[in-house]
């Protein structure tokens, strides 16, 4: 299936959960995920199964002051 992740279109295996996708992205450390405009709670990451055409924003903390 095709997902849009942080504005990039990506082909991934069907039936992935959000948590599995995050692992496959090679993420170390904590991320927050917005799925089709809705912010997911951390506890939802292993429960929510992604569907073809879903759009995700995957964010993390970076350095910044103002």
């Amino acid at each position: 299936m095709t997902l849009t992740i942080n504005g990039e279109r990506r082909q991934v295996a069907d039936g992935l959960t959000v948590a599995t996708l995050v692992t496959q992205l090679g993420v170390r450390g904590r991320v927050a995920v917005e799925l089709n405009g809705e912010v997911l709670r951390q506890a939802q990451h292993p429960e929510v199964t992604l569907r073809d055409g879903d759009s995700l924003e995957v964010v993390t903390f970076v350095g910044g002051g103002a």
């Binding site: 992740i5 942080n6 504005g7 990039e8 992205l25 090679g26 993420v27 170390r28 450390g29 904590r30 991320v31 927050a32 995920v33 917005e34 912010v39 997911l40 709670r41 951390q42 924003e57 995957v58 964010v59 993390t60 903390f61 970076v62 350095g63 910044g64 002051g65 103002a66």
Partner: protein
């Protein structure tokens, strides 16, 4: 003497709040944080870089046992974007403390106070502890307090400008009109700017570039810590009134002929 900074019922031993951007390296940032004594540290929320696999997390370099994370909404230009960023930050940081920042202009980075107040109202309703970056306008500061913000954070000067406190009179007025902590945020250039903010009666100072961009950032972080302490002590001690003419501090009598 206990002179803690209290924000939304939480006590902090330092009145300095420090950022995490623009340091020469993560190692230098960590040493600056230690030297500054700050207990509140601001971080930005950004898209994960999908091409940079396995890059060490920023949080690896922040002692979260000692420091409270304050995610910011830096470079958001609408209330909607700022609120969305705060919701993501809450899921990232496991806390609902945020530095709200809604900008109105790319050149000056001045805040859009109308959008800031609107975002603050929404966030307070959602249970966030909101510390908003704002202009040095006392009326806006009062609106933000009325919206339920836990502090107000007027700018000294444009973000990253290092121009220091451009309107000390307004900063003092803000301190007079609101009850919540007043934290000068943005525009600080050097230690004397911090001392002036504290002498005006402000409750704290938030800075980033003044330390991160200094030739010796760690030494500047230490200077900022000392300036916070010196300015705060001077404020509490109560300065002498200004006079137009000289007034000798030695006795006028008993001069040798």
């Amino acid at each position: 003497m206990d002179d803690a900074l209290v924000i939304a019922g939480k006590r902090f031993g330092s009145r300095l709040l420090i950022g995490t951007g623009k340091y020469p390296s993560h190692e230098v940032m960590k040493r600056c944080h230690e030297a500054s004594g700050a207990e509140i540290v601001t971080v930005a929320v950004r898209r994960l870089d999908l091409s940079a696999k396995g890059e060490a997390s920023l949080l690896h370099w922040i002692d979260t046992s000692r420091m409270t994370l304050l995610p910011n909404t830096a470079l958001c230009y609408t209330a909607e974007d700022a609120v969305r960023t705060c919701r993501l930050a809450a899921e990232l940081g496991m806390s609902k403390w945020v530095k709200l920042e809604v900008l109105g202009d790319e050149r000056t980075l001045f805040p859009d106070v109308e959008q800031t107040v609107a975002a603050a109202r929404t966030l307070v309703k959602e249970g966030f502890t909101v510390l908003p970056y704002t202009s040095d306008d006392p009326i806006t500061a009062r609106k933000l307090e009325d919206a339920g913000c836990a502090a107000v954070m007027p700018l000294a000067a444009p973000i990253g400008s290092g121009l220091g406190i451009r309107n000390p009179h307004n900063i003092r007025l803000i301190r007079e009109v609101v009850k919540v902590p007043v934290i000068v945020d943005a525009g600080v250039g050097t230690a004397s700017d911090v001392a002036i903010a504290m002498e005006l009666g402000c409750d704290g100072v938030l800075l980033n570039t003044a330390v991160a961009g200094a030739k010796d950032p760690v030494r500047m972080a230490q200077a900022m810590k000392l300036a916070i302490e010196a300015g705060r002590s001077a404020f509490l001690a109560g300065r002498i009134p200004r006079k137009a003419y000289g007034s000798a501090s030695s006795p006028l009598e008993g001069l040798v002929d």
